[in-house]
């Protein structure tokens, strides 16, 4: 094992897959010599001449272009510099790309990865802090992946590049410089598999992406109060690994979902529904959701921290569940 950053892990995934398949190209804003706004594509421009393309600031244009290229044999990797702007490209993703394999009755697939630098806790305010996973989960034909560690980032991105569907790959901006162990040898992490990253017996906390670090912190604090927390990292939110969620909740009899983004019609809503449909008789307490407050993401750190979920929100909510017993 080596210790590398999340950013480097993503870079290695793209590099290794590009070596294998000549149909892969990378396009997006500043992904060439500049190396990407967060440095993920650093060095690839020199290593793969003619395969890394700086695009005009035209999100709908180059995302739609990638759909057309994917329909005709390419495997594009698109970086949308800040995930908030995927809204500009959404028509091309949901109304064009996601429909095509269905309309063409499987004769064409859309092997397209959209890499979206996402998330808040950076005082980037209301147009540079979003994470739109809940929207894309709604659409048939799209997979949605959010790795939380360098290991998952590399393994899942390799799977995403090899996948024949559109994969919305949300990379949390706060994770880019975090380090973690990554094998020297080649490996992949399958899409659609959740992981229990900490075992526990009293409550299952289901989460994903950056905020899972706050869940782990909370779990450690709660251990001191003799509450044993099982932490489940979804990694993929579409397709959802229902089995791992259900099995864990059946074991702990309590469930909480923690996500960075707003609550209404979100991943947390979906996970709660899965639990209520499948674990009703096993639950000691209704499922609790810890999410962002439904407000635009504010700029000032004190305001942003109030809107986005914090470790104390989690510990307090868990303590409340157990104080009732």
């Amino acid at each position: 094992m080596k210790e590398i950053t999340y950013k480097k892990a993503l870079n290695e995934a793209i590099y290794e897959e590009m070596l294998k398949d000549k149909n892969i190209f990378v396009a997006g804003l500043d992904v060439g010599k500049y190396g990407g706004a967060f440095g993920v594509t650093e060095g690839l421009y020199e290593k793969f001449p003619g395969r890394i393309f700086d695009m005009p600031i035209s999100e709908a244009g180059y995302t739609g272009m990638a759909v057309g290229a994917a329909m005709t044999g390419m495997r594009p990797i698109i970086e949308l510099q800040i995930s908030d702007w995927v809204t500009i490209a959404s028509d091309q993703i949901v109304n064009n790309g996601a429909n095509m394999p269905y309309l063409l009755m499987g004769k064409t697939s859309i092997p397209l990865v959209l890499r979206l630098p996402s998330g808040g806790y950076l005082s980037y305010a209301c147009q540079h802090s979003h994470s739109w996973e809940s929207w894309f989960c709604f659409v048939p034909g799209i997979k949605v992946v959010l790795p939380s560690t360098p290991y998952d980032a590399k393994g899942l991105l390799k799977s995403a590049i090899r996948d024949n569907n559109i994969v919305i790959f949300l990379e949390h901006k706060r994770l880019y410089n975090t380090k973690g162990p990554v094998p020297e040898e080649e490996y992949i992490v399958p899409i659609g598999k959740a992981n229990i990253i900490k075992e526990g017996s009293d409550i299952t906390i289901i989460s994903y992406s950056y905020v899972i670090n706050k869940v782990l912190e909370a779990a450690e604090i709660l251990e001191k109060d003799n509450i044993s927390v099982e932490v489940l990292d979804l990694s993929t939110v579409k397709p959802l690994d229902r089995e791992t969620i259900i099995n864990s909740v059946k074991k702990t009899n309590n469930a909480m979902v923690v996500q960075e983004v707003w609550e209404s019609c979100s991943v947390a809503s979906e996970v709660s529904a899965v639990i209520s449909e499948n674990c009703f008789d096993y639950l000691d307490h209704p499922v609790v959701r810890i999410t962002a407050k439904e407000s635009p993401i504010p700029f000032s750190p004190v305001l942003e921290n109030f809107v986005l979920p914090q470790t104390e929100d989690i510990t307090e909510a868990v303590k409340k569940i157990f104080s009732k017993k």
């Binding site: 709908a60 091309q92 009755m105 579409k238």
Partner: protein, 317 residues
Amino acid sequence: MNKDFKKELLKTMLKIRYFEFAAGTLYKEGLIPGSIHLYIGEEAIAAGACANLKDTDYISSTHRGHGHIIARGGDLNRVMAELFGKVDGYNGGRGGSMHIATMDLGILGANGIVGAGIPIATGAAFSSWFRKSNQVTICFFGDGATNQGTFHESLNIASVFSLPVVYICENNLYGVGTCIKNTSKCQQLSIKSASYGIEGITIDGNDVTLVYETVKKAVEKARNGKGPTLIEAETYRWHTHFEGEPDTYRPADEVKFWKKKDPIARFEKELAGQKIIESDGINTLHEEVQNQVDMAVRFARESKTPDVNDTLKYVTI
């Protein structure tokens, strides 16, 4: 253009015309569900443009797309079956009139969203350019689409990379019920290409020979790595935006004026003048095409309705 080629062009236009007449009637009879947008009056553009393509080339089409699909060599039986929502349609009844797509003919999809197909066509051209495959893409859209961001973004991208694509704007003057004069101060739509350093040409879209010759040059240019062209083909749709829509927005004398410029009658006159085809020959051609369309209607009527158990067959996720 030799004699046989000219006859073929006429035949393609007639196929579209008779197909659309039949579709209009069947829609009124309730045999075609949903909504259809007919291409009657614009046949010269699809016929003249697609005649320049090789089998391996691509096209992207629009909500008014039957003409493009037929000109690209679409099987009338399967196009009609798709309009009926039947199992033998190009998309097995999953798409209908606005979404006919088949990779076998390089048809990247008709598209129900104005301007949405332009980036896809640009992407196919990008892919051909990247693979050095020497393929060309023709991208059809209407006047309304030139007000969409996707049009401007795509033209810019195609220009930056010198992509092998020919953009054909079918200017039929109306986006649904609103005249382009009220939605674009720029009246000659082809000059919009100047912003992107692309050649723009406006032509009479009802002159099939002119369409063919103009697109021929643009296709050759694209195939030779010289980049994209925007061709504005001026035309008119005889029918309203969709079938069944009352024509409250177009002056009667405007409709009359354009019907006089019928691209088919005009080409027939031209061919007769050049002694390429006698009036008997024209009548025979009409009958032949009418029979093909009748057969397509029979085929579509007799084709099975899709099995609901197959509904989710191609949903991968």
